[in-house]
Amino acid sequence: MTQTDMTKLDKIFNNNPQSPGSLITVLQDIQREFRYLPREALEKTAEILNVPLSKVYSASTFYAVFSLKPRGEKIVRVCKGTACHIKGADIILEQLESGLGIKAGETTKDLKYTIELVNCVGACALAPVMLVNEKYYGNVRCDRVMKLVEKD
């Protein structure tokens, strides 16, 4: 980790109570800052919050939002909610996986794209829904998937 990274990390620790109860919040802040949970950051978290490293690691793997690996510039999320499912989310995902050559949860080698599955983004009226970073795409048709991803 670079010096700047360490400064960012210190800032996160200073913004939260330095006790075991802050674990999840701190991990979320780290993920937001670095887009994933770097190992060194987890080790530092264990030390500062006085939580065994194993518990930090356990929490990092339990919650679906955390990633232990660097993620791509564009995070493509496919909603797997019920409404999206019955309107063909599986096929959207297939197109995406074959288009990008990676499986859900993986990142392309050039760190450009990551595919993630989300349970339900609460935009069921627009099913099937796909998100590219924060941008929602509703009523996605499977032959348009890659066009949406490659946009911008």
């Binding site: 987890l42 065994p52 194993s54 356990s58 793997t61």
Partner: protein
Amino acid sequence: MVNITINGKVVRATEGEMLLDVIRREGINIPTLCQHDALEPAGNCRLCMVEITRTEWDGWKKYVTSCLYPVEEGLIVSTHTSELHEIRKTILDLLLANSPHSDVLQKMAEEYGLHKTSYEPNLEGDNCIMCYACTRICEVLGKSAISPVMRGHEKVIAPPFGEEPPDCIGCLACAHICPTNVITWTDENLTRTIWKKKFELIACEKCGKATISRDFAEYLIEKRGLPKEYFNTCDDCKRVELAQKMGALVDKAKEVAL
């Protein structure tokens, strides 16, 4: 004190006691996998489920894990109904599906008339039944070197990042407490290996016999304020030492009060 009825017999129990303890005290055999007296009950394996009801429940009954259920006045408990038999059998069946090679599970399942799993067996199963006994005991010890990782069916017990656990002191409590003997270790010469981490075993100053790991001894010394020199020799040599000391006293006093 409270009165409860177990399989038709009225039994007295202390308030706050867990049902399982009372049931076992009555000599009733209930299988468990995640229960251990050194651990707080967790309710992971669900084998200790019993049926409870009360007169005022009007025939309504429910199934609870007895390891976690505190006794209450007037509770009516059944420990071996056909439904409970089915529950325990199904749980063992499920465990066996995931760990078809475990002799512990095979033996338990046999008792329920189950010779092989009803499901497609996972031939690569590692026998871990996710009872958390290992992680719980490590937490009691004050180390928490290992933990459950991931969730759901993908869950495994592992050290952080799957590498040598920095907090492990090589005490083997996890390996010994494991009901299905999944956690392996080796002691070769004076080196212990567990969770891929190597530990130096203390060699007896006198005879060279290996005792516990140095890290464990140091932890005990620090945590419990024990004198360091207690750990220098093995139990055999320490007994001889005691005999010699007593002998020396005898020569003076002829009689010794132990």
